[in-house]
């Protein structure tokens, strides 16, 4: 049974991620190549908070429509936008307004005119059935108290034959209860 309700979780995540300060390049350098980071806005790089590199495994093609669930400050959104080109588009969704603003700002700085930012939660995505070719998400599913619901929503918005590339944290063993009950551990 979860230690936190949906609303408590969302409030904690909004506060934690909305207040995250740029923190250098340590996270981005651990996840992305120098060539991939080249040309991206420095703040987008410094606010990389993902845990993997789902875009690398998404096999994106020119002209595709990609949904980035929990876009954060937009680093994966920008990499996807670069991969699908001007003929494609990237729908970036996040429940934290401060992060959405950052994604929009970083897309503008990068000249990525194929990015659309949308506020929403992963358990009720604000998109039509079968409307996207690819879903990517990076370090976001673990923040949901209803993971199966969020995955079902990602399936719903994919077109038949569409694909998903999802980076997340998983446990090999349960964490000690003292940690699992700590609000900060929601992000782990």
């Amino acid at each position: 049974m979860p230690y936190f309700t949906d609303e408590q979780t969302r409030t904690l995540v909004r506060e934690t991620y909305g207040g995250a300060a740029a923190n250098g390049r340590a996270v981005a350098d651990a996840l992305y190549s120098a060539a991939e980071l080249n040309g991206l806005p420095e703040d987008a790089i410094a606010l990389a908070l993902g845990v993997g590199h789902p875009v690398r495994y998404a096999s994106l093609a020119s002209g595709e429509t990609v949904l980035d669930v929990g876009c954060g400050a937009g680093i994966d959104t920008l990499l996807a936008a670069r991969a699908v080109g001007d003929g494609g588009r990237v729908l970036a969704v996040d429940m934290t307004p401060a992060m959405l603003e950052r994604t929009q700002h970083h897309a503008a700085l990068a000249g990525a005119t194929n990015v659309e930012a949308h506020e929403g939660v992963m358990e009720a995505l604000p998109f039509a059935d079968g409307s996207v070719d690819v879903v990517v998400s990076n370090g976001v599913l673990n923040l949901s108290t209803r993971k199966s619901r969020a995955l079902a929503e990602m399936l719903r918005v994919l077109r038949p034959g569409g694909r998903i590339a999802l980076a997340d944290l998983v446990l090999a063993e349960r964490l000690p209860e003292e940690i699992a009950k700590n609000p900060t551990a929601l992000a782990v």
């Binding site: 934690t16 991620y17 995250a20 300060a21 740029a22 923190n23 340590a26 996270v27 651990a30 908070l49 845990v51 993997g52 590199h53 789902p54 690398r56 495994y57 998404a58 599913l141 993971k147 199966s148 995955l151 079902a152 399936l155 994919l158 077109r159 038949p160 034959g161 569409g162 694909r163 998903i164 590339a165 999802l166 980076a167 997340d168 944290l169 998983v170 446990l171 090999a172 063993e173 964490l175 000690p176 003292e178 940690i179 700590n182 900060t184 551990a185 992000a187 782990v188």
Partner: protein, 66 residues
Amino acid sequence: MLIKKLGNVGFVDAVTVARAAFGLDALARYPLFAAEFLDFVRAVVPVDRHDTLVYSVVVTAHKGDR
């Protein structure tokens, strides 16, 4: 478990394409965790799990054609 969840909701061909240990040193890179929290985790978690606290995975899957 994540692969199983993907299958349970209807995804097909779910596979783990990347997996890496994610320990306390990795957590410390993120501006989400205060030093006090990291110290707390370091104190509570057995030393032999500090480098493998959790695992970072990337999974891929498809939606069926129909």
